[in-house]
Amino acid sequence: MFALINFSYLAAAVCFILGIKGMTRPSTAVRGNQIAAVGMLIAVVAALLHQQIVSYPTIIAGMLVGGTIGVWLAKRIAMTQMPELVASLNGIGGAASVTVAASTWLIALTADNLGTTGWAVAILVSIVIGSVTLAGSLVAVLKLHGSIGDSAKNRTWQLVALTTLVAVIVGGGLFVNGTGAQPLVLAALVGLCLLMGVALVQPIGGADMPVVVALLNAYSGLAGAATGFVLDNQGLIITGSLVGASGLILTAVMCKAMNRSLPNVLFGGVFGQAGSGSQARDEGD
């Protein structure tokens, strides 16, 4: 069974690679997307065959609810709202990573079977990247939608980002080394990371949001890979890193198309320099 499941993951990963490859050319793009969808189906079926799974009702209920909402969203949305939808789906993916990591950790905690330090680090990475993706995507959605304007308090947000980063490092250290391995610490970490995600995206101008969404997309892939390390699941690791890497390259390609550099997009609003021009414009408005 072990071999069958893992070969299925391999087949799914091959489908994803061929699918992404296809999606880079207009003539093969539709086919590429379909191949990727088939890969996902294979992966889901393989996951259902795992021995650890003892109860199916929760899984089936979740898939039905999620699938229905997904179809409804995809059909209902107007073409002009696409970027917002992609950004929110991204956030949803990040949230999924966080919940998987938290749930796995809670199960292990109750069974008094917390893994090695490496395992705890994987949980932490999964939680941090997932929450940052979730909060960052939410801000991106609101900015794309026009609900949040460009912030004038970039310095403040920078300070918030740094403070939360330090707090997450400290809290994460306690969490990994075992003294802080409590549900409350985990919840606090999630909260801090959410705040960090907001603080990181808030200073970036609304026009740069597509690039930010592409970057967050890469993050959600990496969060998936981290979840793979948590569960020792090669299928997740391959696919997560695949999406992470291709997302990062796509981000770079998009920056190039906009004649910007990635650091300029990410930190231009905060550190002045190249971004000072746009800031000055904002103040003029």
Binding site: F16, I20, V30, S55, V100
Partner: protein, 95 residues
């Protein structure tokens, strides 16, 4: 530990594959490609299924989180692939 080394090897190699996959992408395909890879990152559903399925015996919080994880990942996958398809079909008709 050996498992970790193996997993890490796979991780690094897959990163390189991901980098190599994307080279010259025409700007019109940026958004569909982003949306497509986003749908693929819904692969975390595999983890969600495993944790939701094995949560039967464990605390309610874990079970609820497992259910939420499966739901969220399913939304990501289903909406992601459908929306990508819709976008790409629109391009096809236009060009």
């Amino acid at each position: 530990m050996e498992m970790f080394v193996l997993s890490f090897t796979i991780f690094i190699l897959a990163l390189f594959v991901g980098v190599e996959l994307i080279n010259k992408v025409p700007p019109t395909l940026h958004t569909p490609l982003m949306s497509g890879t986003n749908a693929i990152s819904g692969i975390v559903v595999v983890g969600a299924i495993i944790s939701a399925g094995s949560a039967g015996v464990s605390p309610t919080v874990a079970a609820v989180l497992g259910f939420v994880a499966v739901t969220l990942a399913s939304i990501n996958i289903v909406a992601g692939f459908l929306v990508t398809d819709r976008m790409l079909n629109m391009f096809k008709r236009k060009v």
